[in-house]
Symmetry: C2
Subunit: 368 residues, 2 copies
């Protein structure tokens, strides 16, 4: 969907004339009360659920969560997935043509924030005739968007669902983002973000960035269980290769993930989205007081975390819960005992899905 | 010191005619019973303590631990520091001339193991007239060398001191090493390890590798305390820069560490030493049974770990302790409550230093 009215951004810049691509699942009911917005994280998109007829292998990134009979049941809810501006899956981003110059934005695409995305999403909601969402929902960076919705548009969010999220990145989180960005920016094929003009992609930088990311998405335990010290085609006790090619299974896995990612993800988008993560910190404008930052919210909340998530640990989710309770909000908090680390929010852990299912059943019962 | 007899390596290769540089502190006593070998970790060297007259700022890497009146007191002990083969501080390594070709070894330098280093160190001990060490000591990778000494040369080690170490790397540990190696190997200025011939250094890859390493050396808590979300020249609540230059203090710190490191450390050495870390796994030859692997040891042991070390956590040290106890070895184990993560082994935490001091006092009392 094309938007002609400029979008003013937190940086002071603005996006004139931009496109937002979106998908919907299910039917909006007559009272327009059953809409749920699903916000994506770093490398996902508007393609939340289902399979495209023209791309049979391309299952939506949260297909185990969203669909007929699934925890977010599209027989009852009208689900909206939207690709955020700055991303690389169809909405206006660094790969788009900058109308001011006639060439791709590249590094000129303005730095965007979680709040900017929320404002863009609100305009899409206007265009779709959705005054108020039954729920705004997301995991990780998507959870940050849900939290921002609850304070920027309190009257438009009945329920806010933030999974494996955090009220702000820690120094360690920023550190991992920064290393990934340095890997990309220092790749000679990045060309200061103008690699499109050179017909190349900073694929080495993207690979390293993705490998670093992947380590932080998995728990130490999961890695130990899935890979341990296993070697490709060798038994324990067999001699080593004594080289630097792939030898341990974990090396093979990470290289594969890095290569796959570098083939489809835009390097400028990686910089933009990690910066949006770094910048999210609603409490900063309130002297670090998260409860004050969340005071405008009127929604009910579901906050969920995973015991082995060391990227955004349960302690970070509990900060959100405590701040909400200080505001006397209705909060359901689930700390799921799951082995998969941060990645768990994308997996179909039965306990986790049961919690989300029950929460949406409660929401459905209150629908008018 | 030059060694003319070839050193056979675990890989099947051998090093003909190699140099080991070393430093000693204190005096070997008449009965040659007071020698202590200090083994270095990834980026350290034979320069363990003191200051070189010709390089006044260049303090030894464990100067807070080793010296007159320090926990390892050089008024009582004769301390030996040796740079391992494959390293880049003077001993034969990838930067050395390969006698077989007349050019630098570069990628032709054979992959070396912890056990290879121990055999090289044993030859140095022979040359110095040290039949038996009062102690072999190291932190992290240095601790692995101390453990290997205790089983490869049990009669030559009276006490083994392994600090912040592990009996083997986990999949996550290998993963971090692999990402660092990929950053180096995919840097176009690496030139397949022959960058010397091109007059360049894969400095971007080394920087990223070091930044990754640094994140794993510090605890999440230390990073939060030292850097938090502080920004350079800005107060909390001030606006953001909306760019990708250094903004957060943690970014500045990591870039500085990366740049400093890339100016002095050899890229091929980085590959070799991380591979030696990956490969260390004495239990593998015993079906994973660490107690069986350590059975030959006759030394007494001091094992120490740090509560916030998430690289080689206390649980990893406890594995060593349990295996030693299964062999009825005399083990002192200290789990130090320190905030600094893996780096703590290099810092002068009072509780930690008191433990090491007391252990060496006991050793000193038993000296003949």
């Amino acid at each position: 969907m094309r938007f002609a009215q400029p979008l003013a951004l937190a940086s002071g810049a603005s996006l004139a004339d931009y496109e937002l691509v979106y998908e919907t699942y299910g039917e909006l009911n007559a009272s327009r009360s059953n809409a749920v917005l699903v916000c994506h994280a770093l490398n996902a998109s508007h393609h939340v659920a289902g399979v495209h007829a023209d791309a049979p292998g391309n299952e939506g990134w949260w297909d185990n969560m969203v669909g007929p009979g699934k925890p977010l049941d599209t027989r009852r809810f009208f689900v909206v997935g939207v690709n955020n501006p700055g991303s690389c899956f169809g909405s206006t981003g660094p790969m788009s043509i900058n109308p001011a110059t006639g060439r791709r934005y590249g590094p000129d695409f303005p730095v965007v924030t979680v709040e900017d995305w929320v404002h863009a999403q609100a305009r899409l909601a206007d265009a779709l005739g959705i005054e108020r969402f039954a729920a705004v929902m997301g995991g990780s960076l998507g959870g940050m968007q849900a939290l921002a919705w609850s304070t920027l548009y309190p009257q438009r969010v009945a329920h806010c669902i933030a999974i494996a999220s955090t009220p702000r990145l820690s120094a360690q989180n920023i550190a991992f983002n920064e290393v990934a960005r340095r890997a990309i920016i220092t790749d000679p094929e990045f060309h200061g973000g103008r690699f499109y003009d050179h017909g190349v992609v900073p694929r080495r930088g993207l690979q390293v960035a993705r490998m670093i990311g992947h380590i932080t998405y998995l728990s130490d335990d999961t890695m130990a269980e899935r890979f341990g010290r296993a070697r490709r085609g060798r038994a324990e006790g067999d001699g080593y290769d004594f080289g630097f090619e792939v030898e341990f299974e974990i090396e093979s896995y990470l290289r594969y993930q890095g290569e796959k990612f570098s083939a489809y993800f835009d390097a400028n988008t990686y910089l933009l989205i990690t910066r949006a993560l770094d910048y999210f910190d609603p409490a900063a404008a309130h002297g670090g007081n998260l409860a004050a930052a969340l005071a405008p919210a009127t929604a009910d909340f579901l906050i969920a975390s995973f015991t082995t998530d060391w990227r955004f640990s349960p302690a970070r989710s509990r900060e959100i819960v405590h701040a909400l309770l200080a505001n006397r909000r209705a909060v359901t908090y689930a700390e799921i005992d799951a082995p998969h680390g941060h990645d768990a929010f994308l997996l179909d852990d039965p306990q986790y899905h049961a919690v989300v299912r029950a929460y949406f059943e409660r929401i459905a019962q209150g629908l008018t």
